[in-house]
């Protein structure tokens, strides 16, 4: 079973929820797919990590074979390869690694060069696995790194997914194959607005979901009205306290030190996993 934890808005508590839910499990896997700004490892503190490089190709043109026909540039949809009369310019960062330029080249002048665009860090402890991805700075998309995280965890029984914020391609990739989603939202006008976009995405993808309202007590009641109107299940309400914020700020698992919070985590797991939750 794959359970995605996502939010739309950043900073609502996706990572807090992911790592604390994970800490309540006896067995399972957590993948942190926020490859642009991964934070789960700050709380999990993994040791003995195995690092896997994630690669991307970009074309290299052999000048001796190139006839400067211009076909590669004509077909490339990303302006990543621009032929002139005397040379062919390649813009690595624009290249999506689709392979079309090589296919259309009549002189077999195009080959590919590989570069590392990110890394996956894997660690195991007893019956649990934790993997997180990190995109190299300057790279445009973490989708390939997320794809790897999905691939290495796909045989695992229970997988929690700490998703990236937003509703673009990274989030779609992180959600792939999810059986259920926990939307972590905060009760502010921004939180509600961004959540509506996530709800639209989850409905489009046909993924069942419930909502955890984090940092309740700040903001207003608009979120509860929205949930009722839209007939969305409220899984749990987690009040904002200064103590919880302090524990988070120094990289602590709140569930370890706050029994009420811990109970809430267990409650969420019971609701989502039902009989599959082994306490």
């Amino acid at each position: 079973m794959k359970i995605a934890i996502l939010s739309g808005k950043g900073g609502t508590g996706k990572t807090t929820l992911s790592v604390n839910l994970f800490s309540c499990l006896k067995q399972g896997t957590l993948i942190d797919t926020d490859t642009e700004e991964p934070n789960s490892h700050i709380f999990i503190k993994p040791t003995n990590e195995v690092i896997t490089n994630i690669y991307k190709n970009h074309p290299v043109v052999n000048k001796d074979l190139c006839s400067f026909c211009g076909k590669c540039g004509e077909y490339c949809n990303f302006n990543a390869i621009i032929p002139t009369k005397t040379k062919v310019l390649v813009f690595e960062d624009f290249c999506h690694d689709c392979g079309l330029c090589e296919m259309v080249c009549p002189n077999n002048a195009i080959t590919y060069k590989t570069k590392v665009i990110g890394e996956v860090f894997s660690s195991h402890l007893e019956n649990k696995s934790f993997h997180y991805g990190k995109l190299k700075i300057g790279e445009v998309s973490g989708v390939r790194v997320i794809n790897k995280l999905n691939e290495i965890s796909k045989e695992d029984g229970l997988v929690l997914v700490d998703c990236p914020p937003g509703v673009s391609c990274s989030t779609v990739e992180a959600l792939r194959g999810s059986d259920y989603a926990i939307v972590c939202a905060e009760p502010t006008p921004f939180g509600v607005s961004d959540m509506t976009m996530v709800v639209e995405l989850l409905r489009e993808e046909n993924i069942e979901f419930g909502v955890v309202v984090n940092k309740s007590g700040i903001g207003n009641n608009q979120i509860y009205e929205y949930l009722e109107e839209e007939n969305i299940e409220l899984l749990e309400n987690i009040p904002w306290t200064k103590e919880r914020a302090a524990l988070y700020s120094t990289g602590n698992l709140i569930a370890d030190k706050d029994p009420i919070f811990n109970e809430k985590m267990e409650h969420i797991l019971q609701k989502v996993l039902g009989d599959n939750y082994d306490q």
């Binding site: 950043g10 700004e37 999506h96 689709c98 300057g138 973490g142 391609c169 988070y248 700020s249």
Partner: protein, 287 residues
Amino acid sequence: MINEIAVISGKGGTGKTTLALSIIPYFEDIVIADCDVDAPDMKILLSERVLREDTFIGFKRPEIDYTLCTHCGLCYEKCNFNAISENIEIKKGSCEGCGVCSYVCPAGAITNKDYPIGKIYKKQTAFGPMIDARLTPGEESSGKLVSEVRKRSKEVALEENAKTIIIDGSPGVACNVISTISGVSKALIVTEPTLSGIHDLKRVLELSRMFSVDAKVVINKYDLNLAMVKEIETYCDMTNTDIVLKMPFDKKIVESISNLIIPSTSNISFFTSKEWLSFIEYLQKEK
């Protein structure tokens, strides 16, 4: 030259939109650009009238004519994005519009058609025109939509002789953020005194340097953990990065947003402080 100020953060929820909104009332002749296209929130507080709405074509997406398709599977085999399923259907959110499938199809069953990924708007606010956009949830190419918001906001600024563009960015460090900061005069990086905040600040600072953007740091909610503030200060010192503002955590700021009032225009003492006013003065200086 137009003074373009981008507010970014790396980590989400540090207070980008709150800060961006709060500086707006201090500028005359401005254009507002909301580049957080998959979570656009500035519109919520800026009373608005839509002046123009356009559908944004992100890329060309393949369409399969099943009366011609022989299910040979070549498109599925050659697609590098795993965007075509085994039963020859295009998967939403995976296709990047490269055109390989239509090129390899021996039956000529695939054509590439303009594909809308969201909407882009020009709006009137009490402070000046605003360009914002809404990505259709789940779509590709959001970076292009961000670039279009930037482009249009510059066009409007030139038309209306505006001196400043205030840009609200998205979290992260990939395409959306790169499109948000490339070529701006100043980037304000909003961080918070948490381990996650520092971790993400370092990454987004590295990105700003890579793109030669003049980046300054704002520590929001600084009073929640003073020891962490020290750590941020040490790191900024080491890397020659200026910290231009420290904002306290104040429930009144959240309340103000909940009441749909720009925090700096409501009665909150921090916004009359010397520190805040000299920060505004710094922003107003043209580069």
